[in-house]
Point group: C2
Amino acid sequence: MHLFAVPDLPEIGPGDDLAALISERVDLRPDDVVCVASTVVSKAEGRTADLADFPAGPRAREIADRLADLTGDEKDPRFAQAVLEESVDLLMEAPFLLTETRFGHVGVNAGIDRSNVPGGDLLLLPERPGESAERIRAGLSGADAPTGVDTPAATATDTPAVLVTDTCGRPFRHGQRGVAIGWAGIPASRDWRGETDRDGRELGVTVENVIDELAAAANLVAGEGAGGTPVVVIREFDFGDHAGSDNHFREIEGDFVRQALREWDFDG
Amino acid sequence: MHLFAVPDLPEIGPGDDLAALISERVDLRPDDVVCVASTVVSKAEGRTADLADFPAGPRAREIADRLADLTGDEKDPRFAQAVLEESVDLLMEAPFLLTETRFGHVGVNAGIDRSNVPGGDLLLLPERPGESAERIRAGLSGADAPTGVDTPAATATDTPAVLVTDTCGRPFRHGQRGVAIGWAGIPASRDWRGETDRDGRELGVTVENVIDELAAAANLVAGEGAGGTPVVVIREFDFGDHAGSDNHFREIEGDFVRQALREWDFDG
């Protein structure tokens, strides 16, 4: 398996065609996995916003006040408002906002980024990263589709997979790591259930979330700094002969940490 | 960055010299990262055990009884005893055991594996995976150390880094992914703080846990099945010009999920 960053991408702005920009710079192969940082997807989709776009309602002011009381941190209530508007569930409101976004991802501040945003205060996550991944993939498909009479039309497996990636922290372990928030052309997980080891015993590992692992790998090669390389190609990843599944974001029913958070209150 | 599995490793047993077995099969380079699955580290260290080694005390019986009441699952109280003996903190006891191991890792069942164990019921995690990684690394160093008069003695940076990896699930997201539980020759994280993007704004991502990302990447290439490939080499990973840190496992003070779990009870 090989990973390389797509070279020489320009600064991305609203309306830019990421699929074309990538295809112009790399000869993609059908089994590549193209990992695109959510920051550039959001910029291309015009998901920049200003704090002034989010006049704070009572709930946002309450959250900001409570946070100031508990931690001494002054949070702009308009920022809390932006987070609430991007979210369907508020898991924690202090000492930081942890929410479920409209598309199912649990993250701090609904993944809203206050850096990396020319011409705006805020960069929101893509509205539907799964659709963003599909759209970018369709663009790659168009660029590479075979046209000869004897060449079969481009099918799902003729086109690279696309991930939209983000970075976020997690419980129990320090630091951030790359995760996938949208995917197309590859199942989220591969299933080892029923497979046995050399000794004929059933394997302990059952379902492996490959898109998060691919996103983590891509993050090792990507850079968000001044020489930004937000798109990484993973070549020769072998999914193997496994069943796949698209379960990715957990529902609260099977997520005991989330149930515990629902009953918990930070008290400073 | 490239990843490949070390080919043709034999089944590993107590006392096997993993460093030698790896060095014989791959011409390692100084900047490689060698990712070794904890299963083979444990086997080499003789961390196989039998349920009979863990006669259940009252606490283990209480946990097994409670689990049977709540979920209908019959858990062997001796298994609960083994988990307790491997742990320093019990975060959840139902519907499954989530603990902190003696070396700081939070995982289900203290990472004890009931598959992949010839000649025993249980495979415990390495006792001190950081020391395991150091030891394997020292073996690689010995195998590769330059001996000529004009060659400087092997230094830290002349020897590949070593990770001991495991797979585990996590809140909020389905499926398991690779993580590092021991490391040597590489910092756990790299620090982007103070660095700016093209626009001169400070980056949102601050501390990136690279050893977990490397372990996740390795898990995409490793296989635990019948043709097991438990050791993966990552070549040409560029840590870059960043400060490093060895913070990896969180303390409860900054871990709000863990604080919430401490106050939470599963009620079926």
